[in-house]
């Protein structure tokens, strides 16, 4: 009797469920539509888009994933990942100067970066603990501030105070670095190039993994079979995996450009490991502490969790991950602007995360990956679509920037508004 009742309720609410899902994922739906329209008018072939997209996904996903932990700890969107990016960039500059190339170079960069990132993460956490409730604006301003310090070091002190003898990196005056740094003979593609597979093979492997994941979920979920909406998820995993493999077989039979696309496997695996880590981290004791602090600092303090310390840990982890993410970013980019590459990292990553459907208090891995996909699709298609639609590529570019700032603004507004309404409700109860 009971079971029947449940099923009836579920069937009844299917229509409203879809409606609810659409409304609560409005931002993501809007961007999917925008991307499709942009893609249609850009006149790009699918193969080209996919190729560009894979490059950009590999380049940026790790950085976006670095934002998840502070959200969990209730610190909002961590605009201060710029600091992590900055110390990675500093390390990359020095490693390039010493001429260590390839994977050893990456190893050295990581060794150099991590302690500085831990220190900076600690300091950022201290600052945020002093400015609770203003973490986001604080992070933003801190990013600008530390950019000033970064410029001071690499534009003024290098060559004048810090001995740095390198004709290709330093300006002709002997003081300050050139505005672009080429990693051609150093770290470029050091991780990406270590192991690449054709897209078709990689996609097939990924499809296989997804099916395995579905089976794993099925086996693990057996006792609770038929309870809640969860029991459909493994079907979804299995079906999407199978669909992917089927599609790849079809592609292989054609002479599509897609067959020529290569996927940097090591980077992809690193991103995968980051996802796995984040998932399992949330189930550890520390992860649970993060959640408790994120929900209510006072309750956390009362129940014996040192909320300030937990927030510090979140910031340190986030900064370290961001610095690693930026190493991936730079080696993929190959050449970077010495004084500009890190500046936009915070803003672009946050925008990507929000586009994926995350909010200030709730961000999941799926949000991060989907958001990166959508944001960078827009990146690729918007100048071309702008040119084809309005005869001006600059217009599409401005539109993209507007949309990115706008989505951050709108989602912050929506979050704050909801919080205010909830607060009023609580008061009136």
């Amino acid at each position: 009797m009971d079971e029947k009742l449940k099923i009836v309720i579920q069937e009844d609410s299917l229509g409203t469920k879809i409606k609810k899902a659409l409304v609560s994922n409005m931002v993501t739906v809007f961007f999917v539509i925008l991307c499709i329209i942009g893609y249609y008018y850009s006149g790009l072939t699918f193969g080209f888009l996919l190729n560009d997209l894979i490059t950009r996904m590999v380049r940026n996903s790790f950085l976006v994933l670095a934002l998840l932990l502070p959200v969990m700890a209730g610190m909002g969107l961590n605009f201060a990942i710029v600091l992590g990016a900055m110390c990675a960039q500093a390390a990359v500059i020095f490693v390039t100067h010493w001429g260590v190339a390839g994977l050893p170079g990456i190893g050295l960069t990581v060794l150099l970066t991590t302690p500085i990132a831990i220190l900076l993460g600690y300091l950022t956490g201290q600052l945020f603990n002093k400015a609770k409730g203003q973490e986001m604006i604080g992070g933003l301003i801190l990013g600008f501030f530390s950019n000033g310090i970064y410029q001071l070091i690499f534009l003024i002190l290098i060559g004048s105070v810090i001995p740095f003898n390198n004709e290709t990196l330093v300006l002709s005056t002997g003081v300050g670095l050139r505005s672009t740094i080429d990693l051609k003979d150093g770290l470029r593609y050091a991780i990406d190039g270590a192991w690449t597979l054709p897209f078709t093979t990689a996609a097939m492997a990924f499809g296989g993994l997804t099916i395995l994941h579905g089976i794993y979920r099925y086996i693990k979920g057996l006792p609770s079979l038929g309870i809640g909406p969860k029991h459909k998820k493994y079907l979804l995993s299995g079906a999407s995996g199978a669909a992917l493999i089927g599609w790849v077989f079809y592609i292989q039979s054609t002479s599509s450009f897609v067959n020529l696309i290569k996927v940097p496997m090591v980077t992809a695996i690193l991103i995968g490991l980051m996802c796995v880590f984040t998932t399992y981290f949330s189930r550890t004791k520390l992860g649970q502490d993060f959640r408790t602090v994120g929900q209510d600092r006072h309750i956390a303090d009362v129940s014996g969790i040192n909320s300030d310390k937990t927030r510090l840990t979140a910031m340190i982890l986030s900064t370290v991950f961001a610095s690693w993410g930026h190493i991936i970013f730079l080696q993929n980019l190959g050449t970077f602007s010495t004084y500009g590459s890190h500046e936009q990292i915070g803003f672009y990553s946050v925008a990507a995360l929000l586009i994926g459907g995350a909010s200030v208090t709730n961000a999941k891995i799926s949000h991060a990956l989907l958001g990166t996909l959508l944001f960078h699709t827009l990146f690729i298609v918007s100048p071309l679509a702008g040119r084809n639609l309005f005869g001006d590529a600059q217009l599409g570019e401005y539109f993209r920037v507007f949309v990115a700032y706008g989505v951050i603004g709108v989602s912050l507004v929506m979050h704050a508004w909801r919080k205010q309404i909830e607060g009023k409700k609580r008061l009136s109860q």
Binding site: N129, K132, Y398, I408, V413, A416
Partner: protein, 346 residues
């Protein structure tokens, strides 16, 4: 000793650092034989040209919306006014007057809508204001490309849209600066500019002492108490926001005429940060601000910027970016300091 401590607390560590930095720069300038009179003239001009933008922070802070990072909203209204004045082919004081008059209704409406928004996001105004400001600037970047202005002076000779910088030479460039300007020794005093700024300071000062002004301050100071004594807090916040937006619109017109160019596209993006930094340097906090904070802050901040450039250039021959770096570090450093003074948000 206690007295010293009281003064120290009242004065605040950042101001002590900045004033000593300025003194150090001035001594360095004297030793490097940089003409001080030119520096003073420059500092006066830049104080005047930034003054009203800094002043626009006061109503926002007092009405309780915090540091108004959203002044780019008012700035684009002011820019539209300036562009209209050129489009209508006006010169001199008429041009400035018309620019202000056109930007007034625009900024009032924009400020009202912006105030409505800020009332719904109490507690996170500053972050949201920053991104609303950024969004408006990038939205207007599209606007500058497509708006149907026809004046040859403003459009690119080839291609679409308005120029990135539009010269005001022969239109209303430095018209306020030159009005009644006189020399004391080698120092040029931009009488019109300074008087214009002081006039607006006086207007705001009078407003703050009016009935409406005192209610607004009460609402910003303690919203619960204000509500209890019958003040409509939300309305007061909207009034503060509108006033702030209008002042920033007027501010950018004054800024542009003194600068000699109207800067479009991405230029207004970070203007709010300079204004915020200036008023904080002047001694304001996120909850308290006075007119004297505006004048002192604008003068101190701009003086540091004016003096640091030639000094840095003399010390390090080819490194002109040091002054820019000093600006970034000082302005963002002081904002960070102010944020940590809120008191943990408990």
């Amino acid at each position: 000793m206690d007295k010293v401590k009281v003064y120290y607390n009242k004065f605040g560590l950042p101001r002590i650092i900045i004033i000593s930095f300025l003194l150090f720069l001035l001594i360095a300038a004297v030793m490097l034989e940089i003409p001080i009179s030119a520096l003073i003239s420059d500092a006066l001009v830049r104080t005047g040209m930034n003054g009203i933008l800094v002043l626009s922070m006061v109503p926002g802070i007092l009405a309780g919306i915090g540091l108004n990072f959203g002044i780019p909203i008012g700035i684009v209204c002011g820019l539209l006014g300036g562009l209209m004045a050129i489009q209508l082919n006006l010169y001199g004081f008429t041009a400035i007057l018309v620019a202000v008059l056109i930007s007034l209704p625009l900024s009032l409406v924009a400020g009202y809508l912006y105030g409505l928004l800020l009332n719904r996001v109490k507690g996170s105004e500053m972050t949201i204001a920053t991104y609303i400001g950024f969004s408006i600037v990038s939205l207007m970047s599209i606007g500058w490309l497509v708006l149907p202005f026809t004046s040859e002076e403003m459009r690119w000779p080839i291609g679409t849209g308005l120029r990135t910088t539009i010269t005001l030479q022969g239109r209303f460039e430095r018209i306020l600066n030159q009005w009644g300007a006189f020399k004391i020794g080698d120092v040029v005093f931009p009488t019109g500019l300074i008087l214009f700024m002081l006039f607006f300071c006086l207007l705001v000062w009078l407003f703050l002492r009016s009935r409406l002004g005192t209610s607004m301050i009460a609402a910003g100071d303690n919203p619960k108490f204000a509500t209890a004594s019958g003040i409509n807090v939300n309305k007061m916040r909207i009034i503060g926001t509108m006033l702030s937006t209008v002042l920033s619109a007027v501010g950018i017109i004054v800024y542009s005429q003194s600068f000699g160019f109207i800067q479009l596209y991405q230029a207004p993006m970070f203007m709010s940060f300079a204004a915020v930094a200036a008023i904080l340097i002047g001694g304001a906090t996120i909850k308290k601000a006075t007119i004297s904070n505006v004048i002192i802050g604008a003068f101190l901040f701009q003086s540091v910027l004016v003096v640091s450039l030639p000094v840095a250039n003399k010390i390090l021959a080819d490194v002109s970016s040091l002054a820019e770096i000093a600006r970034i570090v000082i302005s963002n450093g002081i904002i960070l300091y102010a944020l940590t003074q809120i008191g943990g948000g408990e």
